[in-house]
Symmetry: C3
Subunit: 267 residues, 3 copies
């Protein structure tokens, strides 16, 4: 996989402007929509059970995020996920806070059971829980974890999907496996940067059927945009960073991605 | 209609600080509230069925926006709309995404049937759907449309309200008809700029009973503020634009509105 | 109480990074989460009845805010509050808009009855309503009120809690009583600054069991951060202020708090 591939995919997203249907949490709706618009995709949010499936069936990709789940939202996610499955539309699942409460863990497992998830994106703690490991999770910020590459491979094999684990190093395990070293630690000081990443990965998957490659490309692009924003804001101004990051999702072009991408192909 | 009228109305909003009750979508609540505060109005959001009517009855204007509708929210909108109707409080309706799913289209039509809407604000695709025309709508971004002036007039006559259609040119059709050429294309890269516009129009209608004139004035003011913000941010920095636009909603004064307003009176 | 105490508590929050569970309104979720992250605390939002209590029981403090209440959210708040009570975890209650509608007033009173609230934070109008006084409240912006110090003391005695009333002067009444003169009037032009303040007070209470002292320290820190942000933005740029305020919640250090804190001890 080359950085030229990342750049090509970025330009494809911007040209095709895929409709990304986000069933996501109430904390990040605005940031997610603005991030997708800045990227060049078309965001939509519709999580009523009456229309979630209809909207999913006309989308380029569907994102399920349980950051602020309710019983009605989980139903809508399952309806949307199944509708996407029927049409071969990629489904990305972000199990925010799995492990933090029994309800969250059970809901995440239920979604994985009822919907064919194509890409799972979480931190190490969340993914470990969904692999049946017992771990300590401190709220939705998740916990540190060793051997993340192994965990991603385990989740990919066990659950039959492309697994993306984000942390100090971002890892993709699926048809191919990658480690991506782009990004900036200030991302952890802005809420919703993980959630928006899920939607950006979904946008890349909307235009590239090799979801592992699409995910690695999205991670690299996203990380390069963050590095560029952090170069403006520094590490101690999270308010400025958040604004500049939206700018960079719009401005970062193929030359920057090709010059600064850091993707390692595993085995 | 003169630009002095726009400036007078802007100052009236800032002096009277009308309470604008927004039953709106979960993506834009924060941006809408900050935009109204920046303008000088008083935002409130209360979409529980238990209190929507009570809050509406003490408001200066009520905004109904179905961007993320649910069955409970639609009920609350109808209760709020009817309470406003009883007291002669202006009701603005934004049928976000009408045409995108059957549920959205039906809910929009139901609101129009049960509530006496004073101002309808949408893009051409949404308004066309509510006029009974069959059109393609790509999610909530809506589609392009020719003959927008005619469509606005058709909707105004058919539905008995002031119709505002926004796009490359903004059009108002009601007691009088106007075309407004203010604005900037970067508005389309920030989520909620259409929704906030609805709330700003509502704020102007709260202080001026000629809703067509009030809408044209609000459109012109809003567009001038956007032009001023875009002059700072440029067209490629949507994060910076969104911040600066809030600044300009606060700072833009009568002299700027008078100097830069572009309102055309139709027939 | 010294400004060194405020600085010590600020550093304790940053070192311990307490998990703050916010059951709050849909307008301010993003701003609240970003403000808490900037401060150095760990935000979580989980208002489903199925998990609100579980999340509360692992939190350092719980915030109940009825800005956009629904029947389901009120249930979740009561479950979360009771779970926190059982474990001695501090509960802060923000009765947004109490007095504006009967449902809001009744819900606020019900929460106060069923949950042992440790800190009540509101404006004068809201607190007066909860003390049984009849007042005019204009939406959630609340009304002016004289003799705020007396009202805070009355609420503290009547309701058996630490009462924080914010306005031109911020007042704390509890085990000890304080008046805090830090802050900036531009805070009133940004939505959610009162709500975020509640969450910041909760973060300070998570690391200091004398809630009156913790509240005064939080108010002073928050006000100093606002003063510093306003020095950058000026009073007429609320968009810029909001961004810079997030920066300052992160950057403001003990030296600034010690130099600029203005806390008056009331007998």
């Amino acid at each position: 996989m080359t950085h030229q591939f990342t750049a090509d995919l970025l330009e494809k997203v911007r040209a095709e402007k895929p409709l990304i249907h986000n069933l996501t949490n109430t904390v990040v709706t605005n940031f997610t929509a603005n991030g997708l618009l800045a990227l060049g995709a078309s965001p939509v949010m519709a999580d009523a059970v009456e229309e979630a499936a209809d909207m999913a069936s006309i989308a380029g990709a569907v994102v399920l995020n349980i950051g602020t789940l309710t019983a009605a939202k989980v139903e809508a996610m399952i309806l949307a996920g199944k509708a996407a499955n029927e049409k071969g539309i990629p489904v990305l699942f972000d199990p925010v806070g799995a492990g933090a409460t029994p309800y969250r863990t059970e809901s995440a497992k239920r979604i994985l059971k009822e919907v064919k998830v194509d890409v799972l994106r979480g931190n190490a703690g969340e993914v470990a829980v969904l692999c049946g490991r017992a771990v300590q999770v401190k709220g939705v910020d998740g916990g540190g974890h060793e051997e993340i590459r192994g965990l991603a491979k385990e989740a990919s094999d066990l659950l039959g999907l492309t697994c993306v684990i984000t942390g100090k190093e971002d890892v993709v395990a699926g048809k191919h496996s990658y480690a991506v070293q782009n990004g900036s630690s200030i991302l952890t000081k802005v809420t919703g940067t993980g959630c928006l990443l899920g939607s950006v990965i979904a946008a890349f998957c909307a235009v590239e059927k090799n979801y592992a490659k699409a995910s690695a490309a999205a991670l690299s692009f996203y990380g390069v945009a963050a590095e560029r924003a952090a170069a403006v804001s520094g590490q101690e101004q999270p308010g400025t960073f958040a604004v500049q990051f939206i700018n960079e999702l719009h401005q970062t072009a193929r030359t920057e991605v090709e010059a600064s991408g850091r993707i390692e192909v595993l085995q």
